[in-house]
Amino acid sequence: MTIRRYFVAALLAGIALPAFAQQDAALDAMTAEELLPRARQEGTVTVYAFTSRIARVETAFEEAYPGIDMIAYDMSSTEQITRIKAEASAGIANVDVVYISDAPVVYTELLGPGLVLPYVPPRVVPLLDDSEKFPLLAQRLSTKVLMYNEEAHPNGSPVTNLWQLTTPDWTGRVIMVDPLQRGDYLDLMTEFVLQADAMAAAHEAQFGEPVTLDEGIANAGEQFIVDLFANDLILVSSTDDVNAAIGVVGQDNPPIGFTSYSDRRDNEDEGWALQVANTVEPSNGIIFPAVLAVAANAPHPAAARLAIDFLMGDDSDTGGPGFAPFYVAGDYATRSDVVSHPDAVPLDEFIAWPIDPAATAQIRQEVGDLVLSLQ
């Protein structure tokens, strides 16, 4: 053991700057067992994560790998992107692992300029679809879908067509996070526009007539966004506020709104009755990957890879301690060997639109400006 540590130390000390790429490649090919001693040497690993569940990962990680301190920061994807770009232009190497949603922006603004690097632990390569390995490793699929209060509506979703949200029945009672503050929600808005044809069809299905477009509005998707905002849409700054508004039990007439299906997991702890609306025309929202990447100038490259390996879970049916915080109804593991959560709608029956990051990235800013003009 000691000899090996000396060996590693000597190896690390001998590495010069130009050897970084080579070193990255070497690290990429290593197993967790091979990474561990180097990671111990590095001592810490810093993670920017878009979910508060990272705190539980931190505990589990430090239990699994004593001696490596995981420093986890819970930051929204939008904030992560801003910070990583700022840190890069400042020449600061702060973060090792980026755990983030907002794939459209991540691909264009972080991966494109080389601020983050792809990494797929060798052991999970056979377990993932290609789309889950490229351009970045997808750890799980997350959602922003229509949720309602199942205590108040025991017979299922009160909304069966998205256009119903623009009717007086729901004036001032649709709630979501400000799309300008959270990229996931902007992706949701963008998806409405990308799915304009489906939205147009749904309009006819709901009202029996084709949608009439306001001046300057290009399609049914944009019109839906306009009408939704016009119907006193309530914007808050965090999903927990949305969840509480929709989900708190004992409400006579609770609002409805877009949030993460997986937040249903907190129903018991928080006293909520969140349920997904999975019988909605044309869809209930979006499903999108949560991706993992190594920061380009990660100060702890081995520990970073070890942490990503840990976050991908173990070979048990539920993914083990590393994946435990994410093995909940409404989150869908990308690993084909992790079985679907028993309480959740199986992935193949789930009606949410999977986003197309490239197409989304293209019109995202325009949709953002549209949303801005409506506020």
Partner: protein, 578 residues
């Protein structure tokens, strides 16, 4: 010949070099960041932001609506503060209302309570269920709270007035104290009625102070970030400060900088206008009489009711918010503020069933490091600002003539006109990337120190001036006659004489940094956690108890430091005892 040129070179250059280095200091600290954001918005790919913000399709929401909200906030808050602050000042200084001293002391306290604390306290009381999460105490009691009282303009106005009126009080009370009772008595002898005296004598004399109070509170209100962010954003009420924050946070920096520049212009315009009104008149403040007011307005039957009104204002703006904050940091539900108290939010370990496993603030290493970071920042800025302020004030006092000194003077007071959040934006713009051989400061402690130092420069220069006036010119000149160098004179004469005044000033700077949110909210990074930003983030993520607990910590530190400062200021130097 050689010696004369040498002597000439030494002497002339000594002063000029000193001036130039001070100018460079304030230039780098203050002018450069502001210039940088202006230049950034003029870059070819960014200049379109000007038209987008001011005339384009988005301008209504980017600029005009936030601008209208901002102006409403500024004007109403200024009026409210002058009315309430002026009313209390009049009661305390000029009438025979009972408990005058206590009212006078309490009226200065609200400014010590950070505005986000008052906003959080408002939320704990008045939140309704519109935006979900916990509802407030009053709704918990079964009262229906309408939206306009829970969110948006009205609560923001109330919170800001409750916060800033003590500023107006301080300024107006100081002016009223100079109204010699002889003036009033002379008017009484002339046969004027009480109302006539108030409007004909007292108000005109106090007018410059009223205008000063109004423009100061206006500037405070338009640049305040915390209150509109916490109370306005949930109902999509944007001010220029919140809009600026949102734009920077999502990376739309060019648009954000344009908003920042416009916000600076508006704030500066109003302060300048206020100043012009005041300086256009003769200053009456110099007409001072003997201390002690022989005769006070007899309130008669109104004495009791007016006292109750004043006491209510004071209690509602000082004790009540603090009590609510403490209670709501203990109560699991803000709708039942007084039930099921627990210390979990203070010291509890992580429990998945409470607040998504957030540990209590004293068990959260992140918050603990935030506390030490905040204290370190406060202490460092207190020292750097005081030193810089003293230096600038000294140069202005001693070598105040010439264009160089003029530039130093103007620059060092410029931050008064710049809202904190705009200043933060400017600092990110300038120091976010490496400058020549200097590394980027983004996310580092020095950046926070620099920004804090620059932001509080006007205050420090003011303190420095007071201190230098205290140490009269003769005392320094007589030391100069002995041949003592500038640093030596500073160390042996100026600083010892001024130390208490300086320490008090430094403590106030410390408090200002402790409770500041608007300056640091954009400079915050996970590596430089600061308590006020942590509290704001907890609050905006729905973890009200944690936010309130952190705010109580800030409050306690601020109050202790302020009391200490007051003690230092009032306690005279031992060698001045006669």
């Amino acid at each position: 010949m050689t010696t004369t040129t040498l002597a000439r070179g030494l002497r002339l250059d000594g002063v000029t070099v000193l001036k130039l280095s001070v100018l460079a200091l304030v230039g780098v600290l203050i002018a450069a960041p502001l210039l940088r954001i202006v230049l950034d918005t003029l870059a070819p790919d960014a200049i379109i932001a000007w038209s987008e913000v001011t005339t384009g399709r988005l301008s209504r929401n980017l600029l005009w609506l936030p601008l209208i909200n901002t102006l409403i906030l500024g004007v109403v808050v200024a009026c409210g503060c002058v009315l309430i602050g002026g009313f209390l000042a009049w009661l305390v200084v000029m009438t025979d209302v009972p408990w005058r001293r206590t009212i006078g002391l309490m009226a200065t306290l609200p400014f010590m309570i950070p505005s986000f604390a008052t906003a959080l306290a408002w939320g704990s009381l008045f939140r309704n269920s519109r935006v979900g999460g916990q509802s407030g105490f009053l709704e918990g009691l079964g009262l229906a709270i309408p939206d306009w009282l829970s969110w948006g303009m009205v609560p923001t106005l109330i919170v800001l007035i409750a916060h800033y009126y003590s500023l107006a009080f301080t300024v107006i009370a100081a002016a009223l104290a100079t109204v010699n009772s002889d003036l009033v008595e002379a008017a009484e002898i002339a046969g004027a009625k009480r109302s006539r005296i108030l409007f004909g004598i007292v108000l005109p004399v106090a007018l410059p102070a009223v205008v000063a109070g109004a423009s100061l509170t206006f500037a405070g209100a338009v640049s305040n970030f915390a209150a509109p962010a916490l109370l306005g954003l949930p109902v999509r009420m944007q001010t220029m400060a919140t809009r600026l924050f949102g734009l920077i946070e999502v990376g739309q920096t060019a648009r954000g900088y344009v908003i920042a520049i416009l916000l600076i212009v508006i704030s500066a315009l109003f302060l300048w206008a206020g100043n012009a009104v005041v300086s256009g008149r003769r200053s009456y403040a110099t007409i001072t009489g003997k201390g002690g007011r022989a005769k006070r307005f007899q309130l008669g039957a109104a004495r009791g009711p007016l006292f109750v009104v004043a006491a209510l204002i004071c209690l509602l703006t000082t004790v009540v918010p603090v009590v609510i904050l403490i209670a709501s940091s203990l109560a699991p539900s803000s709708s039942a503020l007084l039930s099921n108290w627990t210390l979990h939010y203070w010291i509890g370990a992580s429990d998945p069933s409470i607040a998504q496993g957030q540990p209590g603030i004293f068990s959260n290493p992140f918050i603990l490091s935030g506390t030490s970071m905040t204290l370190a920042l406060g202490a460092t800025v207190a020292i750097t600002t005081t030193v810089a302020g003293l230096l600038v004030a000294f140069v202005l006092a001693r070598y105040g003539r010439g264009p160089l000194a003029g530039a130093i003077n103007q620059l060092s007071f410029l931050p008064l006109l710049v809202p904190g959040i705009a200043f933060g934006a400017a600092y990110i713009a300038l120091f976010g990337a490496p400058i020549g051989p200097f590394p980027a400061l983004y996310g580092t402690f020095p950046l926070l120190v620099l920004a804090g130092t620059a932001y509080l420069m006007p205050f420090a220069v003011q303190t420095g001036r007071a201190v230098i006036q205290q140490v009269s010119g003769d005392l320094d000149e007589s030391a100069r006659m002995t041949g003592a160098s500038f640093p030596r004179r500073l160390a042996a004469i100026t600083v010892p004489l001024a130390s208490r005044g300086l320490a008090a000033g430094a403590l106030i700077v410390f408090v200002k940094i402790m409770r500041d949110l608007s300056l640091v909210v954009l400079l915050f990074t996970p590596t430089t956690p600061l308590l006020s930003v942590l509290a704001y983030r907890y609050a905006s993520e729905g973890f009200g108890q944690f936010a309130n607990a952190i705010t109580v910590v800030i409050l306690v530190i601020s109050i202790v430091a302020t009391l200490l400062a007051n003690r230092l200021q009032t306690k005279s130097q031992p060698w001045l005892k006669s």
